[in-house]
């Protein structure tokens, strides 16, 4: 069994882990680093519950091997503290069971950074990547739009 000892930069901290070639980044961050915010909703790239950031862009961590993460800036939900989007999600009741929430927040946070002028169709394009089964998406829409508004005015 081929193992690799690699350096991963996660939430601004350097981590050294030993992984199998085929270990996904999701598996590594959850099992080896205890960062359980990213979730194994489908392990197939379909649901978005495993979404994290790689170099500021959203990434489904089940679609990435840990070994592909070397040299990248990786941020997980645990690396976000008191961001406008987290506050907006709380204020607008944009979650119920909470399982999809870290994925949505990571995706939304990246959207706010990369597309601060996002219109409805860009928001839809990005957020289609995540499934929420509890809400109707209307609260999520309100939360994202309010965070975008706030960003613009500040």
């Amino acid at each position: 069994m081929k193992l690799h000892t690699i350096q991963l930069k996660i939430n601004d901290e350097q981590q050294t882990v030993t992984v199998r070639s085929g270990d996904t980044l999701l598996y590594t961050i959850r099992k080896q680093l205890g960062l359980t915010g990213a979730k194994p909703g489908c392990l197939n790239g379909d649901c978005g519950a495993c979404t994290i950031h790689v170099d500021g862009w959203p990434m489904k961590s089940c679609l990435m091997m840990a070994v592909e993460g070397e040299g990248k800036q990786i941020t997980t939900i645990e690396g976000l503290k008191d961001t406008p989007i987290q506050q907006a999600f709380v204020q607008h009741f944009a979650f119920q069971c909470g399982y999809c929430t870290p994925g949505f927040i990571m995706n939304g946070h990246s959207l706010l950074q990369k597309k601060p002028d996002a219109d409805d169709s860009t928001i839809k394009e990005w957020l289609e990547s995540n499934i929420c089964r509890c809400t109707s998406y209307s609260e999520i829409e309100k939360a994202i739009k309010s965070a975008l508004e706030k960003n613009k005015s500040s």
Partner: protein
């Protein structure tokens, strides 16, 4: 759907993972692994590698990650051609937006987050048969730049892509070159799904108009993407109503037509007819200028 065994939490097989820094190194590594009987594979975006691997539809003992190869990440204009590296992610292509038809077609593939990992080369050369990113290239008669044991090869797409890219063992796609005059041709790209706005293609159609003729490329109708000269001839004829031209064009579609959980083959034909009407509305095939 052949039942090949259970789905896995992760890739069940053990393999060597390497990330060569040049395409020569990549090819050499491949040949070495091949000689050792490791059934090597090139991986680029690797999304299919992971998702098909966990349901036992992909196997290798040596994965050669070609993402580190500088030539495969280029976007540049060179002597009247737009050269795109095959390892560019679909999102990178969209953000650069140098080829609007490709941007438009790419934006409908999978979902936005996944497109940050899926590469141009991966989408074209992977096992999943939609390969929608190839449609604009088929329409623009792009040149496919491949490297392998026999060195660098450049071939026009209609010679080297027939249902799939006909790569030799040890070869991989490194770049795609498109004549810039196609980049600004009027175009349309529509993706229709079983329902609403997300999911696998039922039918994806891309079309452009150049030299007064409309070209059409289709994915999702058959288990491969295609462009058909006979279809285009039927559409571009000057006589007849659009509906008649479309009926004639349908006589030349390849087979088999897919019949699966996304839709029946009869329904696909119904959808295709309407899509061709949409192409007509946008590009007006078979009209005197």
């Amino acid at each position: 759907m052949e039942d090949k065994g259970r789905e896995r939490v992760m890739l069940p097989f053990s393999f060597d993972y390497e990330r060569p820094k040049s395409f020569q190194e990549a090819v050499t590594r491949f040949q070495q692994a091949d000689q050792s009987g490791k059934e090597p594979m090139y991986i680029s975006g690797a999304t299919e590698f992971l998702t098909l691997g966990r349901i036992n539809q992909v196997y290798t003992e040596a994965a050669i990650d070609v993402k580190g190869i500088p030539e495969a990440k280029n976007i540049q204009f060179d002597q009247g051609y737009l050269v795109l590296g095959a390892n560019l992610t679909l999102t990178e292509l969209e953000e650069a937006n140098v080829f609007p038809l490709l941007t438009s077609t790419s934006k409908q593939i999978a979902d936005h987050t996944a497109r940050g990992k899926i590469t141009l080369g991966g989408n074209i050369c992977g096992q999943i048969f939609y390969r929608e990113a190839v449609l604009p290239l088929l329409l623009a008669d792009s040149q496919m730049v491949m490297v392998g044991p026999e060195g660098v090869k450049v071939k026009p797409i209609n010679e080297i892509f027939h249902e799939r890219l006909l790569l030799q063992k040890g070869e991989f796609l490194i770049q795609v070159a498109t004549d810039t005059r196609y980049l600004h041709a009027p175009f349309i790209s529509i993706k229709r799904r079983q329902q609403w706005d997300t999911g696998y293609p039922l039918i994806t159609i891309a079309a452009l108009k150049i030299d007064r003729k409309v070209r059409v490329a289709i994915s999702g109708l058959c288990p491969f993407p295609f462009r058909s000269n006979e279809m285009e001839d039927a559409l571009n004829i000057l006589e007849g109503s659009p509906k008649e031209k479309i009926q004639n064009a349908l006589a030349s579609i390849p087979s088999p037509i897919l019949d699966d959980v996304e839709g029946s083959s009869e329904y696909r034909l119904f959808v295709l007819q309407n899509l061709l009407l949409d192409v007509y509305e946008a590009l007006k095939f078979g009209e005197r200028e």
